[in-house]
Symmetry: C2
Subunit: 406 residues, 2 copies
C-alpha cells in the first residue's frame, strides 16, 4: 500500500469533482462553499452518521437515499448546517434534485451533506445558481476544490489517497474531510467522503468502513462536542476491475487495511487542524488489559482540557495525564503506569510506576515545543494497545468559538 | 432558614480557624497556604471524595481517620496536591500528627486535605514551622483566613453560612470551599469543609451530605476534569443543643434543606469563579420525563465547550445548546424543546419546538453581556426539573492552564 502524492477524493478511476463559491453565507464572496463529487457509474455505498439526536435534515435525506446501498454523487455545502430548520428536509431534497438534474442521474442516488451554523434557514438560491455551473466544471483534478468547499474553520484542506494491489489490479482509495470543531470520538465525527474504484459489495463496504472508522475517525477528539451533521460516506464504483469483494476474505483484509491507514492519516489531519490548534497530540497506550481499556485511556487523556492546555504551554504536567487515566473508568492499576512525552526532538520519561521521576525541565520543554507530540502511556498490565488523536487547547479555540456566528 | 452576613466555616458555635503563609510552594511568600479548622469538642463527621482512581495520599489518610465517624479538626494546604508521590502517605500522616500535637487532640481525629500541583514531593518543613503558630492564632473569626489559605487559582474566597431553627434551637451551618479548575460533576468536585453546631449522628450526617451534594456540588462543572484531591467533609459538634438527629424525621428535613441551600450557594460561587471565568452559567431544565433526564440535559449543556465559548462571546448561539441536548444521552424529543436565555437584563426566547424563532440579536447581546446567565431549557415532555452550574470558556482558562506549574 502506498500514499499517492497530491492524492484526493478524485484520485480513484471514474470520479470527478468540483467546488465553487456560491455565497451560501452571504458574507462569503470568495471561498468555495458548494461542491459536487460524482462517479461515471453507479456505486455501491455505505455511510456512518452522527449519533446526536439533533441531526441535520441532510442526514435524514441521505439515509433515505442510500437505503438501497447505491449512490452516484455527493452534493455538499459549508456555511450553513441545515439543522433545526422547519423546512430543512425540503431544502436537502431540493439540493439532491439540483445535483441529479445537472448530472443526469436519479435524485435518489445523491448523498447530501451540509456544515456550518445551526438553526438558520438554508438559502436555496445559491444552489439553483451554482449547481448547473458546477456540473460543467467537474473534473478528475477537482478533488482539491471539493476539499476547499467543505472547509469551515479548517485552516488547511484535508485530502489524501492510497493505492494497493488487489487480485492483480491496482485499487485506489481517495478521501476528503473537514473538521475542525464540534468533534468528538463517539460518532461519525465530521464530514468525510471516501471514494474508491475497487469493486466491493455494499454490505462488505459497510463492514470495512466501520472497521476503519473505529481506529481512525472515532479516535479523534477536538472539543468533546458531537456535531449534528457528522457524515462519513464511501462510494465504490468498481472501475479498478478487481473481482468484487463480497466476503471477508484476503482481498477484504487488504482493502480494509488500506482504508484504515487512509482514514488514520485523515484523522491525524483533522486532529492537528482542530479549531485553534497549534499541535497534534497522539496518545499512544500500550500494556492495557483489553483494547477497550486501551482506547478508553487514550481517549480520556486526549480529551482532557487540562492536558490539552498544558500541551499548548509546552508544560510537562504529567500529573494531569495520570489524573485523566484515573477518571477514565478503565481497568487500570495506577501504581504500574509509566508516562513519557515524545516528539521529533526526543523522548522524556516523566512518570514511572504512577509516581514522578526526575527529568530535565529544559529537555521536556524542547520535546513539547514541537507541533506533533506523542503522549506515551504504558499501563504495564497486558498486551493491548490503542492510539487517540487530539490537539492542544489554545486562545484561538476560544476566540473562534466565542464569536462564531458573526 | 437565613443566610448569615459574612458567614464562614467558623460561624457555628464552637468552631475556630486560622490560616497562615507557610510557603508550601517556595515561590509563595505572601498568600496564606496552610489552614486549621478545629472544634472545641469531638464531632460526628461524614465525607465524600473524588472517584478518580488516582487520588491524593491525604484522602487515603482521611478515609482511614474518619472510619469511626468522628473528627475534631481539619488541616489543609494549597500549593501542592500530595498526589502521585512515593512518600505521600507518610507526609499526610505527619500533617495530622502536627495538627494533633498543636491542638492537643488525637491524630486519628484529624481530617487532612491538600490541593495544588500533582507529582511534586510535599515539603513537610513548612508544616513543622507553621502549625504550632497556627494553633496559637485560632479564632472564631478565623474562617475567612481558612478560605484564603485553600485558594489556588481561585480569585475570590468562597465561604458562607446559614442558620435555621431545629426543635426550638438555632442551628448554624458554615462552609468554605475552593475551586476552580479540574472540576467536574461526577465527583466530590473540590475541597470543601462544612461545619455545624447541630447535633446529628454520623450516619444521618452522611445521608444529609449526600442528598445536598447531589443538587449542588455534583451539578457543577468547570472543565470536565475530575480532580485527584476532591474532598467534602462535614463536622457536627452538637453545641447548638438540639435533640440529636438520628433518623430521617422532620428535623432531618429542615437540616438537610438548609444544608442543601448552603451547598447550592457554594456551588454557584465555585462555578462563577471557575478558572478564567467571566460569567456564571446556570442551565435550568424543566419539563423532563425524569430527574435523571433533567440532570443529564443540564449537565450536557453546562459542559459543552462550544456553549461555554459562545457565552463568553455573548453570542446567542442556541444551536449549540440543542446540539448538547442531542448528545446528552437523555430521553428527549428534540421537536418539543424550547430554549431561552435569561439574565437580569431580561429574557430572550431563541428556540421553540426544536427550531429557531426570530429574535433581536441586539437584545440577546444585552441579555448575554451580564455576568450571570440562565440557559432555560423546557423539554415539554414531563414534570421533572434540575439545575446545573458552570462558567464560560475564556482566554484566561487557557492561559492559566497552559502554564500552571511555572
Amino acid at each position: 500500500m502506498k500514499f499517492i502524492e497530491n492524492g484526493s477524493v478524485t484520485s480513484p478511476v471514474g470520479f470527478k469533482g468540483a467546488g465553487i463559491c456560491g455565497s451560501v453565507k452571504p458574507s462569503n464572496t470568495t471561498k468555495r462553499d458548494i461542491a459536487l463529487i460524482s462517479s461515471d457509474v453507479l456505486c455501491n455505498t455505505a455511510a456512518v452518521f452522527t449519533k446526536n439526536l439533533v441531526k441535520s435534515s441532510a442526514i435524514t435525506v441521505t439515509q433515505n437515499n442510500i437505503e438501497n446501498g447505491k449512490a452516484q454523487a455527493v452534493i455538499v455545502n459549508s456555511g450553513n448546517a441545515n439543522t433545526c430548520n422547519a423546512d430543512g428536509i425540503e431544502k436537502a431534497e431540493r439540493m439532491c434534485e439540483l445535483a441529479a438534474e445537472a448530472l443526469g442521474i436519479d435524485k435518489n442516488d445523491v448523498i447530501v451533506a451540509s456544515t456550518g451554523v445551526i438553526g438558520q434557514p438554508l438559502p436555496i438560491e445559491p444552489f439553483e445558481k451554482s449547481v448547473p455551473e458546477l456540473s460543467k466544471i467537474m473534473s478528475e483534478n477537482g478533488g482539491t476544490d471539493v476539499a476547499e468547499a467543505i472547509m469551515t474553520t479548517d485552516t488547511v484542506k484535508k485530502e489524501s489517497a492510497v493505492s494497493v494491489e488487489i487480485g492483480g489490479k491496482t485499487v485506489t482509495i481517495g478521501a476528503v474531510a473537514k473538521g475542525s470543531g464540534m468533534i468528538h470520538i463517539n460518532m461519525g465525527t465530521m464530514l468525510s467522503f471516501v471514494t474508491t474504484d475497487a469493486a466491493v459489495s455494499s454490505e462488505i463496504l459497510k463492514a470495512a468502513l466501520v472497521e476503519a472508522v473505529e481506529q481512525s475517525y472515532n479516535m479523534v477528539s477536538v472539543d468533546g462536542d458531537t456535531s449534528t451533521n457528522d457524515t462519513l460516506a464511501i462510494l465504490a464504483n468498481g472501475l479498478a476491475g478487481n473481482e468484487e469483494i463480497t466476503e471477508k476474505n484476503n482481498d477484504y483484509r487488504i482493502f480494509t487495511d488500506a482504508l484504515t491507514e487512509l482514514c488514520k492519516a485523515m484523522a491525524k489531519k483533522l486532529a492537528g487542524d482542530g479549531e485553534g490548534a497549534t499541535k497534534l497530540l497522539v496518545c499512544s497506550v500500550s500494556g492495557a488489559k483489553t483494547v477497550v481499556d486501551a482506547k478508553g485511556v487514550a481517549k480520556a487523556v486526549i480529551c482532557s482540557s487540562l492536558v490539552k492546555a498544558a500541551m499548548f504551554g509546552s508544560d510537562a504536567n504529567w500529573g494531569r495525564v495520570l489524573c485523566a487515566i484515573g477518571y477514565s473508568g478503565c481497568d487500570v492499576d495506577v501504581t504500574l503506569v509509566d508516562v513519557s512525552f515524545k516528539s521529533k526532538s526526543g523522548t522524556v520519561d516523566v512518570c514511572k510506576n504512577g509516581a514522578g521521576i526526575e527529568f530535565s525541565e529544559e529537555i521536556a520543554k524542547e520535546v513539547l515545543s514541537e507541533n506533533e507530540i506523542v503522549i506515551e502511556v504504558n499501563l504495564n498490565d497486558g498486551d493491548s494497545t490503542a492510539e487517540a488523536y487530539g490537539c492542544d487547547l489554545t486562545y484561538d479555540y476560544v476566540k473562534i468559538n466565542g464569536d462564531y456566528r458573526t
